[in-house]
Symmetry: C3
Subunit: 286 residues, 3 copies
């Protein structure tokens, strides 16, 4: 084996036992960190299990719905379900929370998070190829299905929360994209361009480079504890160029300040009113 063969061998890596397992561990632990999830696991193990399955197989469910294939198809993959269910059981019901404590160890967390990102590449390429087999040369469908398969858990988060009795209509992943959803969209566009042969790069090389970018950015974000997207300057530039958006954060900040001023003004006036009442009462009593 030589060095230039590395991407090709990498692209033949099987996902099944280890990388999928890492994906399940990372997904279910992300669920457990959400507010109210532990209470749901006590109140209703079935709702908790279904929610965990949507976290693990959300991409598969969403892309099936998009292509009018049975959304319960993921239940037919017995071994994967068994694996994900075991992870769910250990994460939520392990005595003295041993499993979670184990994965709170930083190097292990980094390993699991990195391996989960590798599965993302495989899902995007799988989604793009699958969409292409349904609709010939419909590049928007390929982007949509690749995106859905790779970032499904995030995109259906509103309905996943509904299973747990939580409903937050004021936000969703389209209104306020998180970094993983954003990077998956970029990946879906890249792999669609590659699949349509607009990108002069071999598929395994693109997979290799994209995966390295995913893993490195994920690990960096975990180590520096920053949630800042590396695309922020690019987005701001594009937003300014195409959508004429001003620097919204400062504007919003200004609004916030104004409203807090407003409320303080309001408070002040009511205080003054209160004082006035007191004075009048005092006058009367004197």
């Amino acid at each position: 084996m030589e060095l230039w063969q590395l991407p090709l061998l990498f692209s033949r890596l099987p996902m099944f036992p280890f990388f999928d397992l890492a994906h399940y561990v990372a997904s279910v632990m992300a669920l457990k960190e959400q507010r109210g999830a532990v209470e749901v696991s006590v109140r209703s193990p079935i709702a908790c299990w279904f929610s965990a399955m949507l976290h693990c197989f959300g991409g598969s469910v969403l892309s099936s719905l998009m292509l009018a294939e049975p959304p319960v198809g993921f239940l037919a993959k017995g071994t994967n379900i068994l694996l994900a269910s075991s992870v769910w059981y250990f994460v939520f019901y392990c005595p003295q929370d041993l499993f979670c404590r184990c994965f709170a160890f930083l190097p292990l967390r980094l390993l699991v998070a990195g391996m989960k990102e590798v599965t993302r590449t495989w899902k995007i390429t799988g989604g793009v190829a699958h969409a292409d087999s349904h609709f010939k040369d419909a590049w928007l469908v390929m982007v949509a299905v690749g995106w859905a398969r790779g970032a499904g858990g995030g995109l259906i988060s509103n309905f996943e929360q509904l299973v747990r009795g939580v409903w937050k209509p004021e936000t969703n992943e389209l209104l306020k994209m998180s970094y993983p959803v954003k990077v998956t969209l970029i990946g879906a566009v890249l792999f669609t361009l590659q699949h349509s042969q607009y990108l002069p790069i071999a598929r395994h090389n693109l997979m290799f480079l994209y995966t390295i970018f995913l893993v490195v950015s994920k690990v960096t974000m975990m180590l520096t504890r920053s949630a800042a997207s590396p695309f922020a300057p690019l987005e701001a530039a594009l937003g300014h160029m195409f959508f004429g958006s001003q620097k919204t954060p400062s504007k919003l900040k200004g609004e916030g300040a104004a409203s807090s001023n407003g409320s303080s003004v309001c408070d002040r006036s009511s205080e003054q009113h209160h004082n006035g009442v007191k004075k009048r009462q005092a006058k009367k009593t004197e």
Copy 2:
């Protein structure tokens, strides 16, 4: 005919006119008893009709969605729709509420409720067999589709309520299962095991025994007006064994008491505060 042939003959019972009719009557009357349903029937007969159809054919709609079959398929069964629509019309718009008064007569209510439970068995076995024809030997899919077909109206209740302008995200049938949904899940597991030949019992015998259990438990619950599930001790034992759940009801009760204490404390303090203000005012005036 001999006695041991009874289960076989029972399993060949046609559902179409009478049992289906009982199912429609029980479902639409359950809808009418829900808060706000009568107002919706006055404001918008179409929303009310659609809601009634979801009550009657919810299982069919949900299992179609799961297997990527047209969810409007139930509309193609003209005679059933006609029957259900007539029931809907008589239940909601009969002059002087004659139809509902008629079915308020206890023996008739028991008969209708019992016959509705018989259709449940037929739906579960139909769902299990239908799922098996799509996915070979995927027992989780069989359980899911059997459950959805048998308890569909309950499982999609959040969205059925949305049709009537009601939205209760804080609860759903997965978070807090009602008895019919629970017993349908058990039935779906049993018939899936039987279908996979893990259960050493003939299909018609299992159908006979399960239906008898359904009807007897339903009638008992209606006569004793208890909503207590016969599975409560079993569930508590399983919950304790696998999910380490403590006796949550007493704990919740304790919390409730604490909060009511809290509020009374709060009231008392505000009252004291109020008294204090009065006293101070009195002092000033004296």
Copy 3:
């Protein structure tokens, strides 16, 4: 060409570039007029774009879901998407709002609105024929799919709003039908009857007459700025005959008056109470 050939030629009119364009312009401008839509266009262009696509292709998405066809199918029609996306871009991000100002010119608005109504007829007939190819002689399915295809944007408005972070469960198009949804339902029934040969009229003649009715009623409503449905008397008569509904508007009005009375009574009493307190305080001080 002679005059009696006009309906036939009309029914062969291609929708593609101009009528579809008018539909996109009218749909996206209707979106922009909704509260909060402009803010969403600044915050998240992707959510805004997806919302605009649901406005333009909502009928296609809904009817695909109903017939278990891929709901992303509309993304495969590249030219239409490009056209709709361009319209979306010009409506929301045109410098100095030139595009919208242009279409605020009344004759142009009337032309666009009239042409949009023509596409409605084509969609309904397309939906009815498509449903018939899936389910033979299921007239309820034909009505449902024709209705969904023609009025899709309205029927899924709850979920379209959810994309923009707005959730109004207390109302939907079934509970309180708007005029376009209502007239589309009537059209779907008429074309289903014609398709099943219960209506002794040729298809192109019905298309011609129905379109003229749509355009004339739309233009009249825009010119007189009235939202009153021309079917109101017919609906009231049918409602009275079949559903025994009383004159609900006056009743609701009465309730409204009662509640405003109630609140004024309440205010008055609190005012009196307030005065009483003052008097008592005054008494004490004297």
